[in-house]
Amino acid sequence: MSDKIELNTDKTAATEQQSTETQQLIVFRLGEEEYGLYIDQIKEVVLTPNITKMPQTPGYVKGVANIRGNIIGIIDLEEKFGIKEATTTEQANRESNYTLVVESDEFKVGILVKEVPNTLSVNPADMEHSVNVVHDNSVNSDYIQGIVKLKGKLIILIDIFKVLNEQELETVNSAGVGTN
């Protein structure tokens, strides 16, 4: 903890005010890297229920599942980020053990993860917000909120709602159905 505080003193007064509160992150592994989400975007972590395939959705949408009576879409971020090859819903049903349920006012989705995610307290001083990353065209580039460096680990902090912007789902879908 002490080295963090040291770092803190170098920052401007404005960040110092922010940094008085540590942020809670949920950290999970996608491929070889670790990704983080702010804990307030996450509703729960559950054992992945049976996923039902959904037609005419992008490949990374594995389908829908019943989580406590709510029917929510299940998303494979590894596929979305191009970390692994496309899989089928059946494979997803066999492989993925946990589902992170993320929720906003607008929508609710489940993210497939293989291991139980960890929680992590992070001092904002450890977050680097302006990161220069090379993006591809398939994703909205500002979904990466920053990089967290902590104890030799590197965590990619993402804004899940920017990853799953609805417009994208819509355009992909209407392309499948044909335009009016």
Partner: protein, 630 residues
């Protein structure tokens, strides 16, 4: 049906009493803050509603009385009349009498109200008179100053009343401000004199005396509880969950426990479900009665003569469905008047009665409710529709030639279609009919048209009677279970590969002597992003890989007069399901209308037949057209 009438009377009473109470509350607010436009508007609205409801139920006294109040507050709202203490006195009495009138509906009691009503009318007339006087006097400044207005009116009303009333008791209590505006007084007094003096004398007093009855205020409790629809929706959802949970428990324990053990649970939960559904049912008459006005307005606008006949008004339907289709019905009725019914001259020439008729009827058919809008007008001219559809680029010329008249007529439901050459206020803007189709699709309904040139057209809407439970057919496709609503399915047939033929980009087969389109659902579902149904060979894929000996299960569905056969992997069973909507962001998938949860906790997708048919048919029209333009 008598019990139903009774029920509606009760509902009216409950609403009216609530309105009355609200009026009382608003009046007290207004009295404290006379300039409160919000209260005035609210009072105006409530009296208007009350008038409408009472008129609809045939309680003329209440309707008339509320009408006078409405007019009066209309004037107040427009700033033509400002209220003073004196008038508040009368208005409170008026509202008491209104309450008594409403109560009289319940026990058929007699309430004299003409006195107070006359008094209100006098107030009203004096305002209107004053408006005229001012106009002739040409004193625009004074009009702008609102303050001086009440004084002469106070004189006017009390004066007018004094003259009208033979017994001066009441008016003597009033401040006798009788200076000025004698002209108005006379005029208004004269007006009231048109009411036979005798009857006024007789009725004013009982009207006022009646207040004594009202005065020993009893707090009335209605036998009805008004429940917001939201709460009912919630209740229904919970019952749905219960049923799903019941099925889950039964299937989980089916190995250990005899199914009979659950008979009671089954019965109680089903009863509960149907009771909740029943609570949400309303008579279509509620909606139908509102159309008298729609017809009148539309007819007078079009300078046509039209009568509206209602049939089967006691047919019951889910309240939410009625709400969803109400706009569609308005469109269809306006359309029937705008396009269907001819002008009186034309009708005479055609040997029809001058007055056109529109019949709105409803009846139940198994678990559906059919609503029909029938006119005796000129009918739909298929040739004209065809011409228009080509002109507007909805279909290509070749397609138009091949299409049957019935199919052509369905083009009127396409977005942007209108046969009217001139745009009128109520029809001809090319919006409306596609709205009808959309509304029906959203609730799993169907629309069909029957038309005969010169005789008339009938639009028939087939609606589910309840949105709570859907009868569905379960089938298997690619190892997943799906449900397809029975409201669209016509039959289930088995065919072999040789029965199905490739034609152009699609597949066809013969069913009951008719040629129908056949679609392998697996092809539809295999569509990837960027592909569309009319990409070459997309719909042939499964067919090409088929073994001729394999028996194919085909579900025949019909949607808006179009029949299509869906090839599925395996038919399972019929099941009543509780459908849940998809949540964002996956609700963008149009071919799935919702989901249901199976006994094993898995999610089962419910097919949106309307969307699939639109995708396969209507869109292929526009596509072909787009290609012909290239």
């Amino acid at each position: 049906m008598k019990s139903k009438d009774q029920e509606y009377k009760e509902i009216f009473l409950a609403e009216a009493l609530e309105n009355h109470e609200e009026l009382n509350r608003l009046m007290t607010v207004l009295e404290k803050k006379p300039g409160d436009t919000k209260s005035v508007n609210a009072i105006f609205r409530i009296t208007h509603t009350l008038k409408g409801n009472a008129a609809g139920m045939g309680f003329k006294n209440v309707a008339d009385f509320a009408h006078v109040l409405e007019d009066l507050f209309g004037e107040v709202r427009d700033g033509k009349l400002s209220l003073d203490d004196d008038m508040f006195g009368s208005l409170f009495k008026a509202i008491d009498v209104l309450g008594a009138l409403i109560n009289a509906v319940k026990d058929d009691g007699k309430v004299s109200f003409r006195g107070i009503k006359t008094k209100l009318e006098v107030m009203l007339k004096s305002v209107q008179q004053e408006g005229q006087d001012k106009a002739t006097a040409e004193k625009p400044l004074e009009e702008k100053l609102q303050q001086p207005a009440p004084k002469p009116k106070r004189g006017a009303t009390s004066k007018g009343n004094k003259k009208a009333k033979v017994t001066p008791t009441r008016s003597s209590k009033r401040k006798p401000v009788s200076q000025g505006k004698a002209v108005i007084d006379k005029k208004s007094a004269e007006k009231t004199k048109n009411v036979p003096a005798e009857s006024v004398a007789e009725k004013v007093d009982p009207g006022v005396e009646n207040l004594d009855q009202v005065d020993d205020t009893k707090i009335a409790f209605s036998d009805l509880v008004q429940v917001p629809v939201r709460k009912l929706d919630n209740l229904l959802n919970l019952v749905g969950e219960l049923v799903i949970e019941r099925d889950r428990i039964i299937s989980a324990n089916s190995a250990r426990i005899n199914a009979n053990e659950y008979a009671r649970l089954n019965r109680i939960s089903s009863d509960l479900q149907y009771s909740v559904m029943d609570v949400r049912l309303v008579q279509v008459g509620f909606l139908f009665n509102k159309f008298h006005r729609v017809v009148r307005d539309a007819a007078s606008h079009e300078k046509k003569k039209v009568t509206l006949n209602l049939e089967g008004t006691e047919t019951e339907i889910d309240r939410n469905i009625l709400q969803i289709i109400s706009d569609s019905l308005i469109h269809l009725i306006r359309n029937a008047i705008g396009h269907g019914v001819e002008t009186p001259e034309e009708r005479k020439k055609a040997g029809k009665p001058e007055e056109g008729s529109i019949t709105l009827s409803a009846f139940s058919e198994s678990d559906a409710v059919i609503i029909e809008i029938k006119d005796d007008g000129r009918g739909i001219d298929a040739a004209k529709v065809r011409e228009k559809a080509i002109k507007q680029g909805l279909i290509s010329t070749e397609d138009a030639r091949h299409m049957a008249d019935n199919d052509i007529i369905l083009m009127i439901f396409e977005p942007g279609f209108s046969t009217m050459d001139q745009v009128t206020a109520i029809s001809g803007r090319g919006v409306g009919m596609d709205v009808v189709k959309k509304a029906l699709d959203s609730i799993g309904g169907n629309v069909s048209v029957r038309t005969e040139p010169g005789i008339g057209s009938t639009f028939s809407l087939r609606l589910p009677s309840s949105m709570a439970v859907k009868g569905t057919l379960l089938f298997e496709l690619d190892k997943e279970t799906y449900a397809i609503p029975l409201s669209y399915t016509e039959a289930v047939v088995s065919l072999y590969k040789p029965d199905i033929h490739k034609v152009s980009n699609g597949l066809i087969a013969t069913y009951l002597g008719n040629t129908i389109s056949v679609v392998f659902l697996s092809d539809l579902f295999a569509l990837k992003a960027g592909e569309s149904v009319y990409d070459k060979k997309v719909l042939h894929h499964s067919y090409d890989h088929l073994d001729p000996g394999e028996k194919l299960d085909i579900v025949i569905v019909s949607y808006n007069d179009r029949t299509i056969g869906f090839v599925v992997d395996k038919l399972l069973q019929q099941k009543e399901i509780v459908e849940k909507p998809l949540m964002k962001p996956i609700d963008q998938v149009k071919i799935i209308s919702g989901v249901t949860i199976m006994g094993n906790g898995h999610v089962c997708l419910v097919f949106n037949v309307a969307a699939i048919c639109n995708m396969v048919f209507a869109k292929s029209f526009s596509n072909k057209n787009a290609m012909s333009h290239h």
